[in-house]
Amino acid sequence: MNGYRNRFAMLALQNAPLLLFAVLVIVFGLMSDRFLTPVNFLNIINQSSHIAIIAIGMTFVLLIAGIDLSVGANMYLSAAILGVFFVGMPPLVAFPLVAVLGLAFGAFNGFMITQLRVAAFITTLSTLFIGRGIALYFSGNKMVPFSKDVLTFGRTAYLGIPSAIWVFALVLIIALIVLKMTTFGRQVYAVGADPDAAAKAGINVRRVTFAVYCICGVCAAVGGLVSGSQVAVASSTFGFQKEFPVIAAAVLGGTSLFGGRGGVLGTVFGAVLIQTVENGLVMTNANPYIYPLVISVIIFIAVFTDSSRTTVLERLERRKIRVEPD
């Protein structure tokens, strides 16, 4: 009897974010007839794509129990350089260059963390300041308008699907392949589960750590590019405090801050969930001031259920000395 109830509780806990999502969709759907339409659905994905892309990168970092607070600054720096210096460049050259810039930013973080052994939190906190400072310098503290090419890219749809979603899908597929299908991807999980054991098993922990921050840097820059192409100008608050919704999306999707648990699919789900809530609130004409309140409550509920689940699991996994009949 008790076993069944426990199992049911576990099932509910395990799928809490999904349940939450279903409830929200039903509630919003009942409240607004514009909400449950294919157009709106595409719109939600489109709007969530830049957060989702950056959050995919963040997931790699969180999987090894690291953190990157500098993604917002990285995003802004990439966008500012794109808008100021790459004006005449064809997109096929400019866009990859932006990604390379992001990579360099991430590599700097990775270098400080792995070679100089500075804590990830402090490293990325500093590069947050430095990155924003350099970006503000380039932009002259003014709005940075993007070139026509960038805007065209942002407005174009291929096969009826906006380009942002294509980029998002591409990043997601690559991330999935890397995490699930390569040695490096499996090593990311191993390092996150137990870095000492990973080192003993012969994994180059420093290299994995370094790579993970590079990946996060690339994703942040690509996210900045996608977001920039959608909003047309980068103001001086572009990307400001974006690290928080990005981390929230990953955590909402079941990625643990302590490493070793989670994945990019969950993260994407988390990003879409946040955007769905925001969109639903708009559709139902809710007071805009309560948007952040609702979203933070939802993140809180997700983390709360996740912690409860972990507590329950830990109790279940406590080492058994005696084998007792069930």
């Binding site: 953190i67 400080m112 100089l116 052994r117 500075v118 804590a119 939190f121 402090i122 490293t123 906190l125 500093s126 590069t127 947050l128 300041f129 430095i130 990155g131 924003r132 400072g133 350099i134 970006a135 503000l136 310098y137 503290n141 928080f244 981390i247 929230a248 955590v251 801050l257 302590f258 007071n287 001031y289 309560i290 948007y291 952040p292 309140l293 979203i295 933070s296 409550v297 993140i299 809180f300 983390v303 709360f304 912690s307 409860s308 972990t310 507590t311």
Partner: protein
């Protein structure tokens, strides 16, 4: 003794001196003084009484928040919600105080009621943070991240309920005096508040059972629990203290600005954590002193002021500040390795 002998002897001694300085807890203070001296030659205005007073005034609220944060950092937690507590307390407190239909307006107790409202907001949010981390085993980073998002939004929403303007003004004179007033001919009144808070915090950390418990929990929570330390209670109170400290800082900020503003303190979070870490407080718990936090805040404030005096644009201020925090962190990492090697 020939001259070569002298150099041969003094060289290792000089090295030992460097090493001692590197390992000294006054390193940050020495760096600040050194920086100040260099700046003096570039912008002589930095050493005028007015500037010094300015630095002191700018330091005070930041210091109160950083002191609260130090408690949480010592138990290996982090409190990202401090800025939102400052904002929320500011608008709630102002809504009690304001002459434009404040809750306590005209009762004669409005200042006391207002101050209590500030403190209560800090205590309630701190309590919530503490409960979630200790009772539900949620990571403090995420708990305080969500409270930060929630109350930043809530502060703005609360303001819209009370006024059409973006902030709540018309605060009583007596209250504004807390943030702006002076005593002993020129010293800011906020200095008095900070001395009380800092003194109490120093006393708690260095002289009381609770202080020793805080370090024990930060250094090794399992050993602390086995040794009879009420680990959960210790962590819980650290968050409450941090919340109340943020609320006190909010009183100082609000008094200085003469209005309750929901965007107050938005950008100080990283300064606060940065200052504590520069001072030598460890993010991994168990290490920190009020004195260190004071040095860290002083260091950052002096840098801020000097960059401002040099007329640098915000861009350079950001970049230089970030580099300095990073450099301090690198020095700390090096220092750690020197210590390990012995």
């Amino acid at each position: 003794m020939t001259s070569t002998d002298v150099t041969a002897v003094s060289k290792p001694r000089a090295q030992a001196g460097w090493k001692r300085l590197l390992l000294s807890e006054y390193l940050v203070l020495v760096l600040t003084v050194f920086y100040f001296a260099v700046m003096w030659t570039i912008v002589p205005e930095i050493a005028t009484a007015d500037t010094l007073l300015d630095i002191l005034r700018a330091m005070m609220p930041l210091l109160v928040v950083a002191i609260g944060q130090t408690f949480v950092l010592i138990v290996a937690g982090i409190d990202l919600s401090a800025p939102s507590i400052i904002a929320m307390a500011s608008v709630v407190g102002a809504s009690v105080l304001t002459g434009d239909g404040g809750y306590a307006n005209g009762t004669g107790f409005e200042i006391i009621a207002g101050i209590l409202a500030f403190i209560a907001v800090g205590a309630v949010i701190g309590t919530f943070n503490g409960l979630c981390t200790t009772r539900f085993n949620m990571p403090s980073f995420i708990v305080t991240l969500t409270t930060m998002m929630f109350f930043s939004g809530a502060a703005i929403w609360y303001t819209t309920v009370h006024t059409d303007a973006s902030s709540i003004g018309n605060l009583p004179r007596g209250f504004i005096g807390i943030g702006q007033g002076t005593f002993f001919g020129g010293l800011p009144f906020s200095l008095f508040v900070v001395l009380v808070v800092g003194g109490a915090a120093h006393f708690i950390l260095s002289r009381t059972v609770y202080g020793r418990w805080l370090y024990a929990v930060g250094l090794n929570p399992r050993a602390a629990a086995v040794s009879g330390v009420p680990v959960r209670r210790v962590i819980f109170w650290a968050f409450v203290i941090s919340g109340v400290c943020a609320a006190i800082a909010s009183i100082l900020y609000t008094g200085r600005l003469e209005t309750g503003t929901p965007v107050l303190g938005q950008r100080i979070l990283l300064d606060v954590i940065g200052a504590a870490v520069i001072g030598g407080v460890s993010l991994f718990g168990g290490k920190g002193k009020i004195l260190w936090t004071i040095f860290g805040v002083l260091f950052l404030t002096v840098i801020d002021k000097s960059l401002q005096l040099m007329g640098l644009p915000i861009a350079s201020v950001f970049a230089i500040k970030g580099s300095i925090i990073l450099a301090a962190a690198v020095i700390d990492a090096v220092r750690h390795r020197v210590l390990v090697r012995g």
